[in-house]
């Protein structure tokens, strides 16, 4: 029906009254979490599930590549994913064998996988490390311990969300020039819950606004500065 066709994957916070479940074939984002620590895997899995994501958690970069169909043995990476499409990869930096940085590089070098946003987590907030990861194409860098507010921010990067590309650009820009104002978010319109269901004016940008990009308080660099001053 037209109503659901327009609003399928817009941010739910705006559309609390609408039932989006008929679209749930592609409704929930699928996140691949990579961390060698079982404690951290358990926590990140819960954080993601409670934020309405499907989660696959693996304990190494090798297993992540296996899951993504990019084995060492199988060079033909056209095989595709193990069942579900992956909308985001979140990986720890410090892992034995393959580090999160090495995993990031392999993903960005792959023609089939490079579009998947990758987020790095680390308990060490070393600016050189962060810079290196962002330069290699990571969408964001989260300093552990990971909190619910971090995961909520991640939802902006998921490929399901068309606003995602803009948002990641904003965060990267914030890294380089903290004083610069982020551009206003794209004005893609969801239906107003109260309006009539017949032909919404998709071109007008009037009353409805997409929730703004993360405030400067939530940006990784500001958070780092706050923790550095402890």
């Amino acid at each position: 029906m037209a109503r659901n066709g327009v609003v399928s994957w817009r941010r739910r916070s705006e559309l609390d009254g609408l039932d989006l479940s008929p679209m749930s074939n592609s409704g929930e984002a699928h996140v691949l979490a990579v961390d060698d620590s079982l404690v951290d895997r358990t926590v990140i899995e819960r954080l993601l599930r409670i934020s309405s994501c499907k989660v696959t958690a693996v304990d190494s970069g090798f297993r992540a590549l296996q899951f993504l169909g990019l084995d060492e043995e199988d060079k033909s990476s056209s095989v595709g994913f193990d069942g579900l499409k992956v909308d985001l990869i979140i990986t720890d930096y410090c892992m034995p064998g393959m580090t999160g940085y090495e995993l990031l590089k392999k993903i960005k070098e792959s023609s089939t996988l490079k579009e998947i946003p990758v987020v790095i987590m680390s308990s060490e907030n070393v600016l050189a490390r962060i810079d290196r990861c962002l330069e290699e194409g990571a969408e964001d860098f989260i300093v552990k311990p990971v909190k619910l507010s971090d995961v909520k921010r991640l939802k902006d990067y998921m490929t399901k969300d068309a606003g995602g590309v803009e948002e990641s650009g904003i965060n990267k820009r914030k890294l380089r020039e903290p004083s610069e104002q982020p551009p206003s978010p794209p004005s893609i319109l969801p239906l107003s819950p109260t309006s009539s269901l017949s032909s919404p004016p998709l071109s007008s940008a009037s009353s409805l606004s997409v929730p703004s990009s993360p405030t400067s308080l939530d940006s990784p660099i500001t958070r780092l500065k706050m923790t550095n001053s402890d």
Partner: protein, 158 residues
């Protein structure tokens, strides 16, 4: 009477948590874990904490084995264990243990064996304290669940 029991138990839990916060044993990440517990995952905190305990005890054993070896020189390996311990401690909000591990790691980087031994003893002692207190916390919580009957969810500590 049941109501009174539940309230008193909740007060006991709050008091214990406040004390652990005040002592610097726990930090707000522990509260974050509690926020992740609900009807769909009613034992989340104790599950994670028990995984943490299992991993920690393994790490502590490894660290002690390394240091007890008279020929010990593999500070790099010790550093790896400590990084793991630091990471998992911070993930559950075990602030005191994390800080002791950081000091331990500094001693290890300086190849200071005596300093490492001292740090390990402190770590073992503080770990025992944390484990006892968290077990106490979970016990009070279990009693409160029983006293509350079918009342749910577990009240969040503010």
């Amino acid at each position: 009477m049941l109501g009174l029991g539940v309230d008193r138990l909740r007060a006991d839990m709050n008091r214990l948590l406040a004390m652990l916060f005040h002592q610097g044993v726990l930090d707000e990440q522990f509260l974050q874990l509690q926020q992740l517990q609900d009807e769909s995952s009613p034992n989340f905190v104790s599950e994670v904490v028990n995984i943490y305990f299992q991993e920690s005890e393994k790490l502590l054993r490894n660290l002690r084995e390394l240091l007890m070896d008279k020929e010990f020189s593999d500070y790099k390996k010790m550093g790896i264990h400590l990084n793991q311990f630091i990471g998992s401690s911070s993930s559950i909000g075990a602030k005191r243990l994390r800080n002791v591990c950081v000091a331990f790691r500094a001693a290890s980087e300086q190849h200071n064996r005596t300093g490492c031994l001292r740090a390990l003893e402190l770590l073992e002692h503080d770990y025992c304290y944390l484990k006892n207190k968290l077990h106490e916390l979970f016990q009070i919580e279990q009693q409160r669940i029983l006293a509350a009957g079918v009342r749910y969810p577990i009240q969040q500590i503010n």
